[in-house]
């Protein structure tokens, strides 16, 4: 079963238009960009990896001739079939990885008139995965003792924060949910935030580059919240900027969530949870 991209080309003009053919081009590309952090500035600039073409096709919708004045609609249809042994991935806009599908319409025109071109992006969602997702909930407790990367553990104020995420295997259309309880804290809490992070890995000649960048940051608590009262964890996955977790030979797109607790003395406590996103 192959899905199709269907629509109409609309040409509106006051008078009849002379042209030398109207064509449509559909293209799907994965653009990989090496981060300067992983490979030095120059390499990043020169060695950007060649885009991977996932799909490409071209059709002529009108032979050279004349389009009458007024509004003309020409219907078209493209089968969405990947090139060769490639797979179609979901549309995704990241920092180092971009998966984009475009449709371009060109009208070639006789001498002394510019050719006309119009491009638009279209979104692709994967077919839902058949298998059932195991939510795999996770409980967590954060105390000074559980922290890593601490320089002076003694200077840390005492606190106990417990909570759970309802799922780490998340359905992309469903929000991330859970609860968090500040059981005690010596220092007042300033803010509690959920940071959604994308981890993009690009393979290249010298090995691979792995970069984590923030997608969005959602505050779930502001000020010195009531101790002992569960605070909901709730975050909607943004469209376009998230896609089902993706692992290919050339690149990987993964997601993580950080629970960030900012104390009043500007101590920053972060707890990281890798997520696996999927579409059902």
């Amino acid at each position: 079963l192959v899905e199709v991209l269907a629509g109409v080309v609309v040409i509106t003009s006051k008078e009849a238009v002379q042209h030398q053919g109207i064509s449509l081009t559909m293209e799907g590309l994965v653009n990989l960009q090496l981060s300067s952090k992983s490979v030095g500035v120059f390499e990043a600039f020169y060695n950007s990896v060649k885009p991977i073409q996932l799909i490409s096709s071209n059709i002529e919708v009108a032979k050279p001739g004349k389009v009458p004045g007024g509004k003309t609609e020409i219907p078209f249809e493209f089968p969405l079939q990947a090139k060769g042994n490639k797979m179609l991935y979901e549309t995704y806009h990241g920092v180092f990885v971009n998966i984009q599908y475009t449709l371009r319409c060109d009208m070639r025109r006789p001498l002394l008139a510019k050719d006309l071109s119009k491009t638009c992006e279209f979104m692709l969602h994967c077919q839902p995965q058949k298998s059932k997702v195991q939510p795999t909930p996770v409980d967590f407790t954060i105390t000074p003792e559980t922290l890593q990367n601490v320089k002076e553990r003694t200077s840390l104020p005492k606190f106990v924060i417990r909570g759970h995420l309802d799922a780490t295997n998340c359905v992309i259309t469903q929000p991330l949910t859970g609860e968090l309880v500040v059981e005690s804290s010596e220092v007042a809490i300033k803010s509690i935030e959920l940071q959604l992070v994308r981890v993009e890995t690009c393979g290249c000649a010298e090995g691979y580059a792995r970069d984590a960048t923030e997608i969005q940051n959602i505050q779930i608590a502001e000020g010195d919240v009531c101790h002992g009262l569960p605070i909901p964890i709730y975050m909607v996955f943004p469209r376009l900027f998230t896609c089902p977790t993706l692992e290919t030979t050339n690149f990987k797109v993964e997601f993580e969530v950080n629970v960030v607790i900012v104390l009043h003395d500007d101590h920053l406590i972060t707890e990281n949870f890798p997520l696996k996103l999927c579409r059902v």
Partner: protein
């Protein structure tokens, strides 16, 4: 001129209509239209027509009702619904009933006090003199980390302030705003939101809303926070409405969808747009804006799925737990409840959950963070706690709305469990049904007593309790203990302002359930508290309200004034304007509720005092309307004073009143009327013949009027009162007094100005004067001549005055007076007069038809007619032919009616006048024709047969 002989009795007999027996059910215009009871009618409606026609005979045949067979459409509907409901409830299944109940639940009834009612109150109550600031950052979140921290130089800041637009990336920080500036700024934002929306800049609109709701996380100048909440949620409401309407209009293509649409009616574009809004809002970084903005567009969930609102409300409720500041959190809850009540009032669970969450986080209020903040802002705990009231009131009001008693009891128990729950207790008393509170009033008092004194002020708690008790009654047996307990606390409140605020509320309860004794005690207490340092000066509105409440419950003025402390209480109103206001309200109640005239000295003394206060407030600057309303009230009082048969007492009351109310003319006039009435009453009691004592008394009454009238400034009042008093004196056989009154009236006549002001407009006085003279003339018929003056000297005197009066140029008024004097003279020359006054000999008996008297009258008539004819001549010369015609015709009519036309000269004169009036064709032909018909009819009588000869000589112009 010779007057024709009149036989008044016979004429009257002839003129009288045939007496027709009136039957009771007959139509009469003044008879009230009977509205028949619709229920009794129901049988008739269903039954045969005969039954309905029989019932309509009992109804007045009002044209409208007769068309509808006696039932007006409204009562018909009422009858229909009354007949339908019972049958419906009989047959309707439980499903039907269930549906009805559900509908009820989904609507918020009129008994739910809407937010709009609270808005103004909050804005007025929570104000500040401190400087406020607005920090708006219209940029994207990415730059945010750097800009606020980096020290923006003062210069840059001011430059940015000047930027009035809200463009991308601009930041505005407005400092040192006064409260009014702040309000204006917020209003500007509201405007720019609407502008942005209408110019299709949806993103900008959203940014404005986000920035505004962000202001709600700022608790600096905390006293102002409730007002800030009101202002900003207005913007949020606007935004919510705009978004909803936009999406609604997107699905309205091609035709509008019904208000009760379902998800299936919504097209995909609309759904996608709506979803987009929710995605955008879900990605707002900060908690508070995200919460508020999502709550604002809660209603839009209806476009997406059936259960959206139902799922969102609990989530948002839980989300509020993340707000650390308890004040910010409680207002967020209030907003959520408000939106929830509007959009889905049937979802009570999340309302309750909000309340329970509030209880759970209650201890935050006394946490360190809050305490530190209060120290920095120098705000005291009681003041801080009152900031919560509007929000908690609102939440509880939503929770308690149509909630079962069980739930309310549970809520109360939960509140009880929390330590130091005064704040909650206060809101519970505010928001729960008064009946609920009243039934447990004793419990509440116990709880109030248990509250910590340091936190929420107790008098506020008692104030709230009192408010509930003013609307609902506690059990009978508990009332006195309640009052005692409450007052025990109230009386200990030190600040007079706090005291009076609370006492004012409890006065209602006291008045409602107790007697004057208790009210008196309360008043004594109020006086005791409010007198030191003239504290009452700052509490006039409350004191006025106390007075109003007392007056609402005590309509018996003898009880009211027998309260020892009532007048001392009245004395506390020392500012003139307020004092008068209070006196007016007392008088209004008196006039409205006093049924019987009174002579109770307590009432009279007190009310005289009250009225005097009102009267004394009149000065040169008092506006006319105010004077009128004061006079109206005082007149109402005077009318209610009656000493029964003790007429002398009544007169002396009037004497006193005249001295007291000398500045209000309408009152003086009323007093004269009262005295005249008194004289007539005396006459009635004596059966028309006075004893020596009563004769002296009625003369005293006349003397009262006589010396009072000249003090009036309105000339027509004076004239009419002279005439009236003269008539009264005459009726009481006080001839010389009557003479004096009438003479005085005549002597005042020349003073009548040519124009008077009527309702602020200058109008010619001529018509009024003519009216007066005519009625004066008709009185003169019965006034006997003074033995020492010549014949008809009053008539002569009047006519002389008329002659000398400076009439308007080109006016026929003088001549019209002459013409109207002719009927009087004719009447005077009759053997027996048309009317007489019992026990007063008129000229008819004095002269007994003496020929000399008759001759005198004839001479007078001739003079008058001569004057009229002269005037007619002058009119002929000028452009006044029209006036000439009409005057000639009216003289002709007078002669016809009153003159003896057998006299040839007079006959000829009449004919000439007829011709003169028709000469120039200005007369009304219809009148002429009817006059001729009248003469024809008259001529049929034997003694007037000569008229038929004259008739031949009168020709109509049209015939000529």
């Amino acid at each position: 001129m010779h007057a024709r002989v009149r036989k008044y009795g016979a004429e009257l007999q002839r003129c009288r209509l045939d007496a027709v027996p009136v039957d009771l059910g007959d139509y009469h215009p003044l008879k009230p239209i009977t509205v028949t009871d619709s229920r009794s009618r129901r049988g008739g409606r269903k039954g045969s027509t005969s039954s309905s026609s029989s019932s309509s005979s009992s109804v007045a045949p009002d044209p409208l009702s007769s068309m509808l067979e006696g039932t007006d459409p409204l009562s018909l509907f009422a009858a229909a619904s009354a007949s339908e409901t019972p049958t419906l409830s009989h047959s309707s299944s439980s499903v039907e009933l269930g549906r009805k109940r559900r509908e009820n639940e989904e609507e918020v009834g009129a008994d739910f006090e809407p937010w709009s009612a609270k808005r103004g109150e909050i804005l007025a109550r929570f104000t500040t003199t401190e400087k406020l600031s607005i920090n708006l950052f219209m940029g994207s979140d990415k730059n945010k980390a750097s800009s606020p921290s980096s020290a923006v130089s003062e210069k840059v800041r001011t430059r940015l302030e000047e930027l009035d637009d809200l463009e991308e990336g601009s930041q505005r920080e407005l400092l040192n705003l006064s409260q009014q500036d702040y309000v204006n700024r917020i209003e500007e934002l509201n405007q720019s939101l609407k502008e942005a929306w209408s110019s299709d800049q949806k993103v900008k609109a959203l940014k404005i809303v986000i920035q505004c709701s962000k202001l709600l996380s700022d608790t600096s100048v905390i006293q102002f926070y409730p007002s800030k909440f009101v202002l900003i949620t207005d913007i949020l409401d606007t935004f919510g409405r705009l978004v909803y309407e936009r999406i609604w209009s997107m699905c309205s293509d091609p035709r509008p969808i019904p208000d009760s649409f379902s998800v299936e009616d919504v097209n995909d574009t609309a759904k996608e747009t709506c979803l987009n809004w929710f995605f955008k809002i879900a990605s707002i970084r900060e908690l508070i804006p995200r919460l508020y903005v999502e709550a604002a567009i809660l209603k839009c969930n209806r476009f997406l799925n059936k259960t959206g609102i139902q799922e969102t409300l609990p989530r948002l409720t839980a989300m509020i737990r993340g707000i650390g500041d308890p004040l910010v959190a409680v207002y967020a809850r209030a907003y959520l409840c408000r939106v929830g009540m509007e959009v889905a009032p049937h979802l009570k669970d999340s309302l309750n959950k909000n309340f329970f969450d509030l209880l759970a986080s209650f201890r935050q209020i006394h946490g360190d963070t809050v305490q530190n903040q209060l120290v920095i802002q120098r705000v005291e705990i009681p003041v801080y706690l009152t900031l919560y009231s509007p929000a908690i009131h609102w939440i509880l009001q939503c929770v308690a709305y149509r909630a079962p008693d069980v739930l309310l009891t549970e809520m109360m128990e939960r509140c009880k469990k929390l330590g130091n729950n005064a704040l909650l207790l206060n809101s519970v008393m505010w928001a729960f049904r008064p009946e609920f509170v009243a039934a447990r009033a004793t419990d509440f008092i116990g709880m109030i007593k248990d509250c910590d004194e340091a936190g929420f002020p107790k008098h506020l708690l008692f104030g709230s309790l009192g408010r509930s008790l003013a609307c609902a009654d506690p059990p009978e047996s508990e009332r006195l203990p309640i009052l005692n307990e409450a007052w025990k606390v109230i009386t200990k409140v030190r600040s007079p302002q706090d005291y009076i605020n609370c006492a004012e509320i409890w006065v209602e309860f006291t008045c409602r359930h107790f007697t004057k004794r208790e009210v008196n005690t309360v008043l004594a207490d109020i006086i005791k508290h409010m007198t030191p340092d003239r504290a009452f000066e700052d509490a006039y509105p409350q004191l006025q309200s106390v007075m109003k409440k007392i007056l609402t419950y005590f309509h018996n003025f003898s009880v009211l004034f027998s309260m020892e402390k009532f007048l001392p209480f009245l004395d506390m109103f020392q500012k003139d304007s307020v004092r008068v206001e209070v006196c007016k309200s007392i008088m209004e109640v008196f006039i409205k509720h006093q049924q019987e005239p009174t002579r109770d000295p307590v009432i009279l003394n007190a009310l005289l005092h009250v009225c005097k206060t009102m009267h004394d407030s009149v000065n040169a600057l008092t506006v006319e309307d105010e004077k009128r309303s004061l006079a109206l009230l005082i007149n109402g009082f005077i009318r209610m004073v009656s000493f029964g048969r003790d007429f002398e007492q009544q007169l002396s009351f009037c004497v006193e009143a005249r001295a007291t109310f000398c500045n209000l003319e309408p009152v003086i006039i009323q007093l004269i009327h009262t005295v005249n009435q008194l004289a007539m009453e005396t006459r009635r009691v004596m059966g028309g013949s006075h004893s020596r004592k009563t004769a002296a008394f009625v003369r005293a009454c006349a003397a009262y009027s006589f010396i009072t009238i000249p003090s009036l400034t309105s000339i027509f009042s004076r004239l009419h009162l002279y005439l009236l008093s003269g008539q009264v004196a005459l009726a009481n056989q006080c001839l010389s007094q009557a003479d004096a009154f009438l003479k005085a009236a005549v002597s005042v006549l020349p003073e009548v100005p040519r124009t008077i002001s009527v309702e602020g407009k200058q109008r010619s006085s001529e018509a009024f004067l003519l009216d007066f003279i005519n009625s004066f003339l008709s009185t003169l018929l019965v006034v006997p001549d003074h033995p020492e003056q010549g014949v008809l000297y009053l008539v002569r005197g009047l006519l002389n005055m008329v002659q000398d009066y400076t009439w308007e140029d080109n006016s026929d008024a003088k001549v019209r007076v002459y013409i109207s004097a002719l009927p009087l003279l004719a009447a005077m020359s009759q053997e027996s007069y048309l009317y007489t006054i019992p026990k007063v000999d008129s000229n008819e008996t004095l002269y007994g038809g003496d020929p000399k008297f008759v001759a005198e009258i004839s001479r007078l008539c001739e003079t008058l007619i001569g004057q009229v004819l002269d005037h007619l001549k002058t009119l002929g010369r000028e452009e006044g032919v029209r006036r000439q015609g009409s005057l000639a015709f009216s003289l002709f009519s007078t002669l016809l009616a009153h003159g003896d036309l057998r006299n040839n000269k007079l006959n000829q004169l009449a004919v000439n006048l007829w011709n003169l009036s028709h000469k120039n064709g200005h007369c009304d032909t219809r009148t002429s024709v009817r006059t001729l018909e009248h003469i024809k009819q008259q001529a049929q009588q034997p003694e007037l047969s000569h008229l038929s000869d004259m008739l031949l000589r009168l020709s109509l112009q049209s015939r000529a």
